[in-house]
């Protein structure tokens, strides 16, 4: 599903340039539940941005769903994001003046679906994350956990190939974190590839595969034994 080969990325910092990713090789298959672990500055956010088509890599190759990603203009990137990727952010990133249902329905608007259909599908996904009764509430009226559920429903609503979650529990307390992770696991059980970025060991341990990153290189890539237990 995601295939990275010798991936490099550096950012210009004045005259110098900051080499963030120094040749990553990573292969994530369909249906995997992977976490990227690393302290801040390890390059994990940069990796997510590149995988999420929010940023471009300098060197190496990136295949998403078998398609080589290179020289994307903004329009193509936008269409691919809408088609293949669902995002979940640490700070939820819901649109503040839209209610839960409208937030979930928004990606479908950019996909070009009709209003009624959008609402119907969005309601299904809100139901899936257990927030049917909260459909008409604004983000400001929801708790942190509820907001993240709305964000997850929004990520899923276009039926993407991969869900990318950037510190999805970073702003939540531990019990809420746990329930959000349970939700992600459930999604993964339905066959979705889930890609989580975190710096918390216990969150990473709830996934099936942990990739550790330090200073722009992968230092370990191991399966948790949880899956073998199941």
């Amino acid at each position: 599903m995601i295939k990275l080969k010798n991936l490099h990325k550096s950012y210009p910092m004045g005259k110098e340039s900051l080499h963030v990713l120094k040749g990553l090789d990573l292969h994530i298959k369909e249906g995997e539940f992977v976490s990227i672990m690393g302290s801040s500055g390890s390059g994990k956010s940069t990796l997510l941005n590149i995988v999420g088509l929010l940023d471009e890599h300098d060197e190496g190759t990136y295949h998403l769903n078998g398609q080589l990603i290179e020289h994307l203009d903004e329009k193509k990137a936008a269409i691919l994001r809408n088609k293949f990727l669902g995002f979940v952010f640490q700070s939820f990133n819901l649109i503040t003046y839209k209610n839960a249902l409208e937030n979930v329905a928004l990606p479908l608007y950019y996909k070009g679906l009709g209003r009624k259909e959008r609402q119907k599908i969005a309601m299904e996904y809100l139901d899936k994350v257990g927030l049917r009764e909260w459909a008409n509430h604004l983000p400001s009226e929801l708790s942190g956990g509820q907001k993240q559920r709305v964000a997850i429903a929004r990520a899923l609503v276009t039926q993407p190939k991969v869900v990318l979650a950037d510190e999805p529990t970073g702003a939540l307390d531990s019990s809420t974190s746990h329930s959000v992770m349970e939700l992600l696991k459930e999604i993964n059980r339905d066959g979705m590839t889930v890609f989580v970025i975190t710096h918390e060991e216990d969150i990473a341990s709830e996934t099936d595969r942990i990739v550790r990153l330090r200073d722009g290189v992968i230092i370990s890539d191991e399966r948790t034994n949880k899956k073998e237990k199941v």
Partner: protein
């Protein structure tokens, strides 16, 4: 553009951000309001000048005689020039094409007019029927003098409204006989005159009647004529110059003599008024355009701020699949919609205010301040263009926002 979903999205955004919408709308509405008021008041000034010069037909020429100030061809200065009937013929024959209406005039001041014990003094003028359009007189009752009256030397008069009011009070003067210096005349018509009260205190009688009554021979006082309206201002001026030259030759007047023959061509005044109006129009236009530009810059600023404020939202939209094009069209349609609607509101308010203050401005030389349809349509088009320009730059910038930067922008 006519995608219903897109409009619903835009209305929702505008509706959920009322204060922002109202503030940006207010800027443009205010600019258009000022623009409309300026234009309306400018037009009011124009109307005032038009009315002030409406007293006589504005293509009229009056020819008066005087006393020579220079000796010429052996003739001494101080000679009185007297027009006679052959001058009437002379002008008529030489300038048939250039002249529209023409009338010689015999004038008598301080004629005592009496009707049943009411009496007053007026100026009596003996004229041709053509004199009516010359004076822009409007017949209110009866008729003006006719060619037949002229031929028959009838003792008939057309009197001004003020004369009727003075002598007849509220009664109609039509068909009654009034006494002018002891001789009875029949009133055949009552007229009003846009020139005002002064012009409505004249009494007109056929030229032949007056000449017979007030002159011993074929002398007359002055000529009034209107030139062919097809002539432009410059052609009209050269016509009256030629006329002056020929009349001076005929009466043996030095061509440089300014006193012996005075030709007053209203075209000259009209020319001055025209250039004055042009300058006024340019000033109004400049101020109007300036106001509009200020408004456009205002809304452009606000749009820049709005885009900045919405950076994060736009980043989210892009992350979930909004293309740059859809971001640009969203911002621009919002901008165009706000400018068009608020601009229209400003326009309507302006027109309404102009209507409301209409009467109270008359003492400041402003009459019927209003804006023409083409100005309204033009301003609306300018507005929509302004909205497009004002929206485009920030929209373009918004489309370039990198989603990551936007999302990191807390």
């Amino acid at each position: 553009m006519f995608n219903l979903d897109r409009w619903i999205e835009i209305f929702q955004t505008l509706n959920k951000n009322k204060l922002r919408t109202i503030l940006s709308g207010f800027t443009i509405a205010f600019a258009i309001l000022l623009f409309t008021l300026l234009f309306g008041i400018g037009n009011g000034l124009k109307h005032f000048f038009e009315r002030e010069f409406a007293g006589d037909a504005n293509n009229s020429v009056y020819i008066n005689s005087g006393i020579t100030t220079k000796p010429y061809k052996g003739l001494q200065s101080g000679r009185r020039i007297q027009f006679k009937n052959d001058d009437t013929k002379f002008i008529n024959e030489n300038f048939e094409d250039e002249i529209q209406f023409f009338s010689p005039n015999v004038q008598r001041f301080n004629v005592q007019a009496v009707y049943k014990g009411e009496q007053n003094n007026y100026t009596v003028r003996g004229v041709y029927p053509d004199y009516q359009p010359l004076e822009s007189a409007v017949i209110e009752d009866g008729r003006f003098l006719s060619v037949l009256d002229l031929k028959r030397k009838s003792k008939v008069v057309a009197i001004g409204k003020m004369v009727e009011k003075d002598l007849f009070g509220n009664l109609s003067a039509l068909g009654k006989n009034i006494n002018l210096d002891g001789i009875s005349y029949k009133v055949i018509g009552v007229f009003s005159d846009p020139g005002g009260d002064r012009d409505e205190r004249f009494i007109y009688t056929p030229f032949t009647t007056a000449q017979g009554m007030y002159r011993d021979n074929d002398q007359l006082d002055y000529f009034g004529l209107t030139y062919n309206p097809k002539l432009n201002v410059d052609q009209a001026l050269s016509f009256s110059n030629l006329l002056t030259k020929m009349l001076k030759e005929k009466h043996n007047i030095d061509p440089r003599d300014q006193g012996a023959l005075r030709v007053r061509n209203y075209a000259e005044g009209a020319k001055n008024v025209q250039s004055f109006m042009m300058v006024l129009n340019i000033i109004i236009l400049l101020i109007g355009i300036g106001t509009l530009i200020a408004g456009v810059i205002g809304i452009s600023n606000i749009m820049v701020y709005i885009v900045k404020e919405r950076t994060k939202e736009l980043g989210i939209r892009k992350a979930i699949g909004a293309t740059p094009k859809s971001i640009i069209s969203m911002i621009m349609l919002e901008s165009i919609f706000v400018t068009a609607v608020s601009g229209y509101l400003g326009l309507v308010t302006g027109v309404f205010v102009l209507k409301a203050i209409d009467k109270s401005l008359e003492k400041y030389f402003i009459i019927n301040p209003s804006v023409e349809t083409y100005v309204v349509v033009g301003a609306t088009i300018v507005l929509i263009l302004a909205g497009t320009i004002a929206g485009y730059i920030p929209a373009k910038r918004a489309a370039r926002i990198k989603p990551i930067e936007a999302l990191n922008d807390e």
